[in-house]
């Protein structure tokens, strides 16, 4: 059997490693428009800030493809798919037939409808090439404006700051990292950026890009004009569904998949940022472009393709992100407005630490931890396993929270039975 | 009281080159001697609280701690010793009875150490226990005078109930309440594995330990704690506790705060109430009352269980023992004046009662002179320290020995003599859950098994040396002993010859 995978990132690795665990005979072909050995995309901001050298970016060891008997076609884009004939067509005219197809094309940057985007030094920031180009252009002392204060914009700001660039973030929402933080959390994190001279402008976005061949500056909707030697568009990511455009594979925002990562078409699967799977917390399909989810979806897809259905606990957003020594870990629903959500939180300004738990029907559905992030996985576990937290709810905010506050049987079940082979 | 005139008894020496501030000592000391001073970034200690239980010394990962006798002394005075003076300070400050624990620690002579054991040379071969069989099995209980059998060898004698011991050693009475649940768990499990018995003491039998019934001797003491039909019938034997070597003639007092829910259920008394065992059994004011109690206990257990009587070794012990035998007891346990206790007034612990060596010799001789020695078992207690003590006790006339202090030391006790505080850092004489868990029964029972097995091997070696291959042939075999540094009177009472005779 031949398995074709479009995309050369973490979802692909999840799939390949899962397949090869059980099936070493099937043929696997990986096609990607990038030429790099599989690398860690989140590390591009570390690369940008010289915290990580290029060869340290590789996500799996050099002999990953050979060891897993994977044939690679790199640097060539896939232009179309014929899901009935089960063939994939490349931009160089070649075509490859498949028995099973996995679409792991990840996400692509959202481009705002603004003129002047094609000027030089206007960057997007999701791939290695983007980072290299930006790193090349961003000289110490130069000015940079980042459109979008989300995860990508935040990490780009950190990278550029390390290069000695004068950074301004422009965020449409009333706060940076609005998808994962609430106002208190965002104000705490913004503080640490602003202390380093990173300027943050909220409530507006780019109106016009100024400059001729090179970008000179940017005019904001609120009328402000900013100098900019480099402009980074970091509004967000959307699923890169171009490749399935004229096929019968149904899409919403991403390629719709069921719990086994199968798309609406037989033998065609999708995983990672391109896929739109079931989010257990909002109890509906949602694109959750998070690195760990991509690996797990890739793994499930890989197994499904070779006929193994592994039970899967569903996906929900979770992030661990930091700026120098300000670290935050968030998961699930962090900023609910409706009544049925109960908020348990505590903020300690002099330690600059913030803890917020979101509870619904005695289940933990989300949390924000800033600077007090140790053992955050305990809470991730409660969300994932839908643990009834009533017995230990009043201890959640304890600095030394741990299994010790769980009733003994629950603790024993968690600590011993989870992997004790009976 | 304003100022206490007492100075620290011990001094904590901390080698700061070795102390790594890991705070293990601080966490482990229930007497709050050690603490971490963050300004000095150093571990400091309050000598006044130290009782030299050495928990910190043992657990310190870099052996940075040494506890020494505090060098502060009084001017030399042969009569007014260090202890004599400090006892007065304490009583002048408290007005109370001085409490103590474990056994009499005064320098009275230890008669075990004045006796030596025989060995065969030439005229008969010594036996090598590694190559020849050597049997230590002992049956505790009342024995008939003779055997009755019919022509085809069917035994007609009705053998009274016996306790089978694979080695002549039993764990003596320590109640649940004076020692911890885990200590009992270790003792019970060790008794089972060793094929011997442990004594629950007067604190009742915890329901979790009913499963060790066949290796358990339950006590019926003046407080009758935890005594009911099931209690009596679960056990292998019943022991009426008349006295205890550490505190002959007085009762016991377990302070209310030590009586937790668990202990109150086991003792069948309200939680938090002081558990007072009255001095006498209020239904035994004379020897015939004892006979009545013995037979009522036998009735309650349908004559299936041996009923023994434990007395403290006092002046008239020979006559008392003989009376007890006549009263129908199946065995007599005699607790010498060095027997241990969880708590007892210091004066009584240190001054009342006689040494077990004389008690055993006197009782054995008296019962023999009355021709009934072979019909009853004698158990010596208070304080057996090693296997040689056991050989000497049996040679003097005991059938088996009780050990308790030795067992606690095996479990980790460091003889700081502070059991009565209930803050035992080794998890033995305490009910504080933080401390009790420090005695892991899994480790405890193995240590006890090791100790008793080691002693049994040593007994076999000594027996073999004497040319004996069955413990029965050592019982009352006083020719196997010789005395050193004893008066003729002492030799006569012990019934042994002087070395060289």
């Amino acid at each position: 059997m031949r398995i074709v995978i479009i995309g050369n990132s973490v979802a692909m690795v999840g799939a390949v490693e899962a397949i090869r665990k059980y099936d070493t005979s099937s043929e696997i072909v990986v096609i990607s428009d990038e030429t790099y050995h599989v690398y860690s995309r989140p590390l591009i901001s570390y690369y940008l800030g010289n915290l990580v050298s290029e060869n340290k970016m590789i996500y799996r060891e050099k002999d990953f493809y050979r060891k897993n008997k994977v044939e690679t076609i790199f640097g060539i884009k896939v232009v179309s798919i014929d899901e009935r004939k089960k063939e994939v067509y490349l931009e160089n005219g070649d075509s490859i037939s498949f028995d099973k197809l996995l679409i792991a094309t990840g996400g692509k940057p959202i481009i705002p409808p603004v003129e002047g985007l094609n000027k030089k030094n206007v960057h997007t920031f999701i791939k290695m090439d983007d980072a290299k180009k930006l790193k090349e252009a961003a000289k110490p002392g130069s000015k940079a404006v980042i459109v979008g204060g989300g995860l990508i914009g935040f990490k780009a700001a950190e990278g550029l700051h390390h290069l000695g660039v004068d950074v301004t973030i422009v965020e449409l929402a009333d706060r940076i990292l609005s998808t994962i933080l609430d106002t208190e959390g965002a104000s705490l994190v913004s503080q640490s950026l602003q202390n380093d001279g990173i300027k943050i402008i909220t409530g507006t976005t780019v109106d016009k890009i100024i400059g001729d061949e090179y970008v000179k500056g940017v005019l904001l909707k609120n009328g402000q004009e900013l100098e900019a030697d480099n402009l980074i568009i970091a509004i967000g990511v959307v699923p890169n569904v171009d490749v399935v455009k004229n096929t019968s594979i149904s899409i919403n925002r991403g390629i719709l998949v069921d719990n086994t990562m199968k798309t609406s078409v037989e033998d065609v699967y999708a995983a990672g940022d391109v896929a739109e799977g079931y989010d257990m917390l909002v109890e509906s399909n949602r694109v959750v472009p998070i690195w760990p989810n991509a690996y797990m979806q890739g793994e499930i897809a890989g197994l499904s393709m070779i006929g193994i259905n592994k039970s899967f606990k569903g996906i929900f957003p979770m992030n661990s992100i930091g700026y120098k020594n300000t670290n935050m870990i968030t998961a699930g629903i962090t900023n609910p407005q409706q009544e049925e959500f109960e908020i348990i939180s505590k903020i300690d300004h002099n330690r600059r630490s913030y803890k917020k738990f979101v509870v619904k029907e005695n289940r933990l559905v989300g949390f924000i931890l800033i600077n007090d992030i140790d053992r955050a996985g305990l809470f991730t576990g409660f969300i994932k396993n839908e643990t009834d937290i009533t017995p230990f709810k009043k201890y959640l905010l304890n600095d030394d929270f741990g299994f010790i506050y769980l009733p003994k049987e629950l603790r024993k079940a968690k600590m011993l039975d989870l992997e004790v082979v009976r | 009281m304003s100022l206490s005139y007492l100075t620290p008894e011990f001094k904590v020496l901390r080698d700061y080159d070795k102390c790594i501030n890991c705070k293990v000592c601080m966490r482990q000391c229930s007497f709050e001697v050690h603490s971490y001073d963050e300004h000095l970034d150093k571990m400091i200690s309050n000598d006044m609280n130290c009782v030299n239980c050495q928990r910190c010394v043992v657990l310190c990962p870099t052996q940075a701690l040494t506890i020494i006798k505090h060098p502060q002394t009084f001017k030399e005075h042969a009569n007014w010793t260090y202890d004599a003076i400090r006892d007065i300070y304490r009583q002048a400050e408290t007005g109370g009875v001085l409490l103590s624990s474990m056994g009499n620690d005064r320098p009275y002579p230890v008669y075990w150490d004045k006796m030596v054991i025989n060995a065969s040379q030439v005229t008969n071969p010594s036996i090598d226990p590694l190559r020849e069989p050597m049997e230590l099995r002992v049956y505790i209980g009342r024995k008939p005078d003779k055997i009755e059998i019919d022509e085809n060898l069917n035994v007609k004698t009705k053998m009274p109930p016996q306790l089978k011991l694979e080695t002549p050693i039993m764990f003596s009475a320590m109640s649940y309440g004076s020692i911890s649940y885990n200590a009992h768990a270790a003792l019970a499990r060790a008794a089972e594995e060793l094929g011997i018995l442990y004594n629950t003491g007067e604190g009742g039998l915890h329901k979790d330990f009913r499963k060790y019934g066949k290796n358990t001797i339950v006590q019926v003491a003046s407080g009758r704690f935890g005594v009911d039909r099931e209690y009596l019938n679960t056990a292998a034997a019943i022991e009426i506790k008349i006295g205890q070597g550490a505190k002959p003639g007085i009762g016991g007092h377990l302070p209310g705060e030590k009586v937790s829910e668990d202990i109150s259920a086991t003792r069948m008394i309200p939680a938090g109430s002081d558990a007072i065992s009255p001095a006498p059994h209020h239904d035994i004011y004379s020897i015939e009352d004892l006979a009545q109690l013995i037979y009522s206990l036998k009735e309650a257990t349908d004559y299936q269980k041996p009923v023994g009587v434990k007395i403290a070794a006092v002046n008239n012990v020979a006559a008392i023992a003989s009376g007890i035998a006549r009263a129908g007891a199946d065995y007599i346990a005699i607790d010498g004046f060095r027997g241990g206790t969880g708590a007892a007034p210091k004066r009584i612990r240190d001054n009342v009662g006689i040494p077990i060596e004389f008690a055993i010799a006197a009782v054995d001789a008296r019962l023999r002179s009355e021709g009934i020695r072979h019909t009853i078992s004698l158990v010596a207690a208070g304080s057996i320290r090693n296997s040689a003590d056991i050989v000497k006790a049996i040679a003097l006339g005991a059938d088996a020995v009780y050990i308790a202090t030795a067992a606690l030391i095996a479990l980790g006790c460091h003889m700081c003599q502070k059991c009565h505080t209930g803050k035992c850092n080794w998890g033995i004489a305490t009910q504080d859950p933080n401390l009790v868990k420090r005695l892991n029964p899994e480790i405890g029972y193995k240590r006890l098994v090791n100790l008793v097995q080691a002693w049994s091997h040593e007994i076999k070696e000594m027996l073999g040396g004497m040319g004996i291959n069955d413990i029965e042939s050592l019982k009352g075999n006083r020719l196997m002993l010789r005395g050193i540094g004893m008066t003729q009177k002492e030799l006569d009472i012990l019934g042994i010859l002087a070395a060289g005779e």
Partner: protein, 149 residues
């Protein structure tokens, strides 16, 4: 594979497991030197929880389906296929703490000095984990398949 299991009923909260975990991962492998000489004391790979009278220690469970391995953005966290031990390659790790986010046991500790994830490696070279070897009360058991009743 053999793992470390804790019997909380007999953990005395002395934290010697932590002392010896640090020592076992120190340069000198000697308690005294590890604490006295090494300016930057290694991070313990064991978490100790205490709420008197209960206390116990906890370390990485080396899960079969390890979320930390799957979620690690750099590929630093790997489960050794032969020994089953999950080990963090500290050269590759950038200290993003995603593993801390996903480890349900909270058994991955942040080595803030070196900004890398610090976790139990079962003292792979020494054969028996230092915490098990030095627990004064045998509260830690290194066995296959859990603790017998």
């Amino acid at each position: 594979m053999k793992k470390v299991y804790v019997k909380e009923e007999v953990c005395v909260g002395c934290r010697l497991c932590e002392v010896y975990c640090i020592t076992s991962h120190s340069k000198y492998k000697d308690v005294l030197k590890a604490f006295k000489l090494e300016t930057q004391r290694p991070t313990p790979r064991i978490v100790i929880e205490e709420n008197k009278p209960v206390s116990f220690s906890l370390q990485c469970r080396h899960c079969n389906d390890a979320p930390c391995v799957k979620s690690c953005i750099t590929g630093a966290m790997q489960k050794d296929p032969s020994t089953g031990v999950v080990i963090c390659d500290t050269d590759k790790c950038v200290g993003c703490w995603t593993c801390v986010l996903v480890c349900e046991f909270g058994a991955i500790i942040r080595d803030v000095n070196n900004k890398v994830a610090s976790k139990c490696d079962l003292c792979a070279e020494a054969g028996e984990p230092a915490c098990v070897k030095n627990c004064p009360n045998e509260a830690l058991v290194y066995s296959e398949g859990g603790i017998s009743a």
